[in-house]
Subunit: 163 residues, 2 copies
C-alpha cells in the first residue's frame, strides 16, 4: 500500500529586520556557540539572552569572554537594526570596548544595550549620510538576577556606508 | 585464526602545569568552542592560538568577541601558570578589560600576554602571600600576519588565595 505524501504548503517567508539580524548573528560560528537569542528590540534598546551552560567557566559562573562577546554583539545589533530602519546600507565594526566585571553571574546571561550618554541617533545618522562614515558609543549591561550589575561595558562602533 | 591483542603499555601520565592549564581551559565549553591551543609559555609570556574558522564573523575576519576572549584567557593563563610555579593555590578573576580593535584579522588568531608596564611579579606574589589577595595588569596583543597590530588589550586581574 502506498501512502500519498501531503503537499507542503508554500509560504512566503517574511523575515522582519529583527529575525534577519538574529539569523545574521547565528550564521557566525562563534555567535552560534554562545546560544544567543534576541529577547527585546525597541529602536533605543536591544536585549540579548544566552543560557549559562555553553558559557560557563571553571568556577561555575558566566565566562568573562562570553559576557564581553554578548555585550559587544548587543551594541552592534542595536546599530545594525537602526541603520536598517533608516534604510542605510552600512558595515558596522567595533572599534574599542571597556568592560568592567563587577560580580560573578551564576545564571543565564541577559544583556541590554543602549546609546551611551551624550550620544544621538540623529547626529550619527546625519554624519553617516554626509561623510560616509560615523562613530557611536553604546553602553551595555548584564544584571544579576538578585539585582545589581554583573558586568557593564562602554563600546565605540564605526559604521561605513557600503558601495 | 585468532590474533593476539598486544598489551597496551601502562604509562604514568605526567601532566606538566602547561598541559594541566590547557586541559583546564578546554574543559570550559566557551573556550573549547574557540579551538584554543597553547603555543608558547615562558614565565613571562603566554601565547595562545585559535583557528579562524570557528571564530569568523559576517565580514570573513576574526570576530571581536573571540579576540577579546582569547586575550582575556591569555592573561588569565599567564597568572595561573605563575601561581602554580610559585606553589600558590589561588582563584584568578578578570576585573576589567580595555580592548582596542586596530585592524581586521583575516587569519588564525595568535595572542601573546605579558605583564603590563610598571607591574612586577615579585610585588604581586608577595602581596598575595601577605594579604590573601592581589591585583595585576596584563597586556595582550594580537598581531597581523603582515605586521602591525590587529587588536590589543589591557586587563586587570584579581587573585585570591583559596581556603
Amino acid at each position: 500500500m502506498t501512502q500519498s505524501t501531503p503537499a507542503i504548503p508554500q509560504t512566503v517567508i517574511d523575515l522582519s529586520p529583527l529575525r534577519m539580524l538574529e539569523a545574521e548573528l547565528l550564521a557566525m560560528p562563534p555567535v552560534a556557540a554562545l546560544g544567543l537569542r534576541i529577547v527585546e528590540a525597541t529602536g533605543d534598546r536591544l536585549r540579548l539572552h544566552a543560557p549559562l551552560a555553553p558559557n560557563i567557566n571553571d568556577k561555575g559562573c558566566a565566562f568573562g569572554g562570553s559576557l564581553g562577546s554578548l555585550m559587544t554583539l548587543a551594541g552592534w545589533g542595536l546599530i545594525v537594526l537602526r541603520l536598517a530602519e533608516a534604510g542605510l546600507d552600512a558595515d558596522v565594526f567595533v572599534a574599542d570596548s571597556d568592560i568592567r566585571y563587577r560580580a560573578p553571574l551564576y545564571a543565564d546571561i541577559e544583556t541590554t544595550a543602549e546609546l551611551a550618554e551624550g550620544e544621538s541617533w540623529e547626529d550619527f545618522l546625519s554624519t553617516l549620510r554626509s561623510r560616509g562614515r560615523a562613530r557611536l558609543s553604546v553602553r551595555a549591561v548584564v544584571c544579576l538576577p538578585e539585582g545589581g550589575v554583573a558586568t557593564e561595558s562602554l563600546s565605540r562602533y564605526a559604521a561605513k556606508l557600503r558601495g
